[in-house]
């Protein structure tokens, strides 16, 4: 494993440095940076798999001269799972990038982009295997900074700079909370090593543990994008180049999930009062619902996907929160199930969200716009991208037999098991969370019906879409790989569940592999067969069989009907793009139903013909939804800071001499005090 790790390290560092040796050849830089990253992430995949099945965690460390800091790594099953996920998405993103960054030739430095890409992947890998709090914070910060620089790749645009700044501020607020949480552990254990965090010399008092819980939730929650700390995602993720968006949305925010599981189940030993799990559950439900609702109103394809990341983080937290609640009451089987379901969804989301972002990147590559209103009819022009995007859309909408369906089904199951809980409140609340999840899934389906339908079907609505062409082969291969992984993760839970079981066993104290898998692994049946069971391979077979049946029927009896070829829904009129549903039009019913949440403002200006006021010359339609969180939560805070700064400006004379005099007088006064 040491060799694999060294190979991974060398690969990323090589990808970081090599392109800088060829300053004038972007094509060489491209191949070197992304080839090397691909090699390193290949090693990462192997490392993850071997780590997952190793009997003992692999550890290594290099002592540093800085006090309390040692570059220690530890690859236990949880870390291995995340290394595997990061490397898989990293590999695909590397392949994709070879085609995608040709867009940036001459516009941005490919060497810098490639170097940052490698550094970003390396820092994420180190975050999940770090075994020292100090080291963790360093690589965590490195990850944030590198992703910031990647977000501002197109820094000449004002909105990109704004997005980058927003992200930088939010992530540092989060990091501040993480540092506080780690300092509390340090106080108790006297060391920054994770081993000391796990087993402090004297156990932490209850109040302090609660403090750690809240700090970690806010700190890591900012990175994960839980509501109301999610506001940076829809700015930052769309601004980055698309393969970076895939990494950020697919895996970077998952490092926060990793850290939450690490802190709650590992460091705090899985001992918590019921309301901790309850808070996580509520935050999960709110994030899931609001995330998908705001996604529906978004017409920028990448912003839409960013809001879906908020939604899916919420879904993951539903699973983890349920696991925490069960853990409180000693129902370790169910706790393991909740945690397992949450982690399953974590991997699944990484795969399908990366796929969708790469798909969105391909659309951007082909049409040079992210605005869905300017798409349309792309399926004919980009059949491969369309097919892969569809698979991603099906997965994220949790339709069988894809991976999103399996993990959301498992989360439902663990929420339904709440009737085993002793308290009435929780007995009611968990099914409510399940209801929220159901609503979320439905809205997600609506959202992707919109995203796919508006983008790929009907006629092109702009010259951008009319002139679009299929993307280069490397980009198609990358998307294809992820599409295959998405389907396999759905069809083969019997492979995935035992792997995840190895991860949750140390935390829940019990292996549930045998209890979740039934019929030699061909079906999932959490806890018992009578309650509920699911077999995706059978479902898939049924789907294929039914569609075959349909086709067969058409083939058998279709000849009896006279065939005519004409435009669908045309009713004899020539169809034009202006007759199509727009993205805005598509979501109007939902906007009306949830008007209380969106608080929409609609502006319709009509310019009438002078001859007759029954005919309009032009119509102008505007529609905005209220950014509630920004308006009621962030703006007051920002206004408060600016107000304080305004008051402090009294002492700002603007004169250099005045400032020097301030320092001078302060110095003299302090010296006189000292005497």
């Amino acid at each position: 494993m040491q060799n694999l790790f060294l190979l991974l390290f060398a690969g990323y560092i090589g990808g970081l440095l090599l392109p800088l040796c060829f300053p004038t050849k972007p094509a060489v830089q491209n191949i070197l940076a992304h080839g090397s990253a691909g090699l390193a992430s290949g090693a990462g995949i192997l490392l993850g798999v071997t780590g997952l099945f190793a009997p003992e965690p692999w550890t290594a460390s290099v002592q540093s001269t800085i006090p309390f800091l040692s570059f220690a790594v530890r690859l236990d099953s949880l870390a291995s799972l995340f290394v595997l996920t990061i490397s898989l998405v990293g590999l695909v993103a590397s392949i994709y990038a070879i085609g995608y960054v040709t867009e940036f030739y001459g516009r941005a430095s490919i060497a810098a982009l490639g170097a940052l890409f490698n550094g970003f992947l390396l820092s994420m890998t180190l975050v999940v295997i770090a075994d020292n709090g100090f080291f963790f914070l360093i690589v965590w910060e490195l990850m944030s900074l590198l992703s910031y620089f990647l977000v501002v790749t197109e820094y000449e645009k004002a909105e990109v700079r704004y997005a980058g700044f927003f992200y930088l501020v939010m992530t540092h607020v989060g990091t501040a909370f993480i540092i506080l949480a780690f300092l509390i552990f340090f106080q108790a254990g006297g060391s920054f090593s994770f081993e000391a965090f796990r087993h402090p010399e004297q156990p932490l008092p209850e109040g302090i543990r609660t403090l750690v819980f809240l700090m970690a939730l806010i700190g890591f929650g900012t990175k994960a994008g839980i509501v109301p700390l999610h506001v940076w995602l829809p700015y930052a993720h769309p601004s980055a180049p698309s393969h970076i968006s895939a990494l950020m949305s697919g895996v970077m925010i998952k490092t926060a999930i990793y850290a939450l599981v690490r802190v709650y189940f590992d460091f705090l030993g899985g001992q918590f009062p019921w309301w901790w799990g309850f808070i996580v559950l509520v935050i999960g439900a709110v994030s899931a619902l609001l995330g998908v609702m705001y996604a529906l109103m978004e017409h920028d394809l990448k912003s839409l996907l960013a809001y879906h990341s908020v939604e899916n983080i919420g879904i993951i937290l539903l699973g983890i929160g349920a696991g925490m609640i069960f853990q409180t009451y000693g129902l370790t089987e169910f706790a393991a199930l909740g945690l397992l379901a949450g982690l399953y969804h974590t991997i699944n989301h990484a795969m399908f969200k990366a796929l969708l972002f790469l798909g969105a990147g391909s659309l951007l590559y082909a049409t040079h716009t992210r605005n869905m209103e300017e798409y349309g009819g792309l399926l004919r022009r980009m059949p491969w991208t369309g097919a892969f995007f569809l698979i991603g859309a099906v997965s994220i909408s949790a339709l069988p037999p894809t991976n999103g369906f399996v993990s959301e089904w498992l989360i439902f199951q663990s929420l339904f098991l709440s009737f085993h809980l002793p308290t009435v409140l929780l007995k009611f609340m968990l099914p409510l969370a399940a209801a929220a999840l159901a609503l979320t899934s439905v809205l997600a389906l609506a959202c992707f019906a919109k995203a796919f339908g508006i983008s790929f079907l009907a006629l092109p609505r702009s010259s951008h879409a009319r002139l679009a062409e299929e993307v280069p082969i490397t980009m198609r291969i990358a998307m294809g790989l992820l599409a295959v992984v998405c389907v396999l993760l759905g069809l083969a839970p019997m492979v995935v569940v035992p792997m995840l079981d190895r991860v949750v066993t140390p935390f829940a104290g019990q292996s549930i592999e045998g209890k979740v898998l039934a019929l030699d692994g061909w079906a999932l049946a959490p806890v018992n067969m009578e309650f509920s069971s699911l077999s995706t391979p059978v479902l898939a077979l049924l789907l294929v069989a039914l569609s075959m049946l349909g086709l067969g029927l058409v083939a058998a009896f279709g000849g009896l009907v006279k065939q005519r070829y004409y435009k669908t829904w045309g009713c004899g009129i020539n169809l034009t793009p202006r007759m199509e549903y727009t993205a805005t039009g598509f979501v109007q019913p939902i906007k009306r139903v949830f008007g209380a949440i969106y608080q929409p403002t609609v502006k319709l200006e009509t310019e009438l013909l002078e001859e007759s006021r029954y005919f309009a010359k032009r119509r102008h339609f505007e529609f905005h939804i209220e950014p509630v969180f920004q308006k009621y939560l962030y703006d007051p805070v920002v206004a408060c800071f600016i107000g304080m700064a305004e008051r402090l400006r009294v002492i700002q004379g603007g004169s250099l001499h005045l400032y020097l005099a301030y320092i001078f007088v302060t110095l003299i006064v302090l010296l006189l005090f000292a005497v």
């Binding site: 700002q652 004379g653 603007g654 004169s655 250099l656 001499h657 020097l660 005099a661 320092i663 001078f664 110095l667 003299i668 010296l671 006189l672 000292a674 005497v675």
Partner: protein
């Protein structure tokens, strides 16, 4: 032994006093190029002091520091500053925030303050350079005062460098010099600071047709 150490101490004090004297000369001098010359002279006295301390105490690494001081502060920096003055064509400091006589009075007050402040510390020292600490302190304060009193960027830079000289003297006086690595770092910093300030002065000239830093007040908004 007793006598030689006594004489050594007196010599160090003398050199330090000369340093302080050049400070007053800088405060009183309106011509910029003369200010720079005086700074070079002050640095030369500093080299002498450091070399003396090195000789008397046998701490050879102070020789290196003294040599570097000679190279950077006596030769390079004055030359850079002269170039800047030449290019910008500013010869004199015409308007000052504090006029020369008042400035000299204030500096006298600052020297008294420095001695007053170091009074409780000096008897605790056992090094032969201990009296220099008060002087070093006075030099730092006067350098700072120069930065406040003058308006031209070049003379502010000289004030900054005088402060630096004071700090160096203080370090030598209080502890026979900082570790060599720290001193090297400080020299590097000073050199960079001067280069940056030189560029800044040039930009100031380009932007306002003047190196008067009070123009910067306009940047407040």
């Amino acid at each position: 032994m007793q006598i030689s150490s006594h004489i050594g101490s007196q010599l160090v004090d003398l050199c330090s006093a000369l340093l302080l004297l050049t400070c007053f000369a800088i405060v009183a001098q309106r011509r910029l190029s003369a200010c720079v010359d005086l700074f070079a002279l002050q640095s030369a006295f500093l080299v002498l002091t450091a070399a003396l301390v090195a000789f008397l105490t046998g701490n050879h690494h102070i020789y290196i520091a003294a040599g570097l001081t000679c190279l950077i502060k006596v030769i390079i920096i004055p030359r850079v500053l002269k170039k800047v003055i030449e290019r910008l064509n500013v010869k004199r400091e015409l308007v000052m925030n504090v006029n020369v006589p008042a400035g000299l009075l204030i500096c006298g007050g600052l020297v008294m303050l420095a001695f007053f402040i170091t009074q409780p510390i000096l008897p605790l020292g056992f090094l032969l350079t201990r009296d220099s600490l008060a002087i070093a302190f006075a030099i730092v304060l006067i350098g700072f005062f120069t930065m406040i009193a003058r308006q031209k960027a070049v003379s502010q830079l000289v004030g900054f460098l005088v402060m630096e000289n004071g700090l160096f003297l203080g370090a030598t006086a209080a502890t026979y010099g900082m570790p060599l690595i720290v001193e090297l770092g400080v020299f590097f910093d000073v050199l960079i600071a001067v280069l940056i300030a030189g560029i800044y002065t040039n930009r100031l000239q380009d932007a306002f047709d003047s190196v008067d830093t009070s123009h910067l007040t306009g940047l407040k908004e």
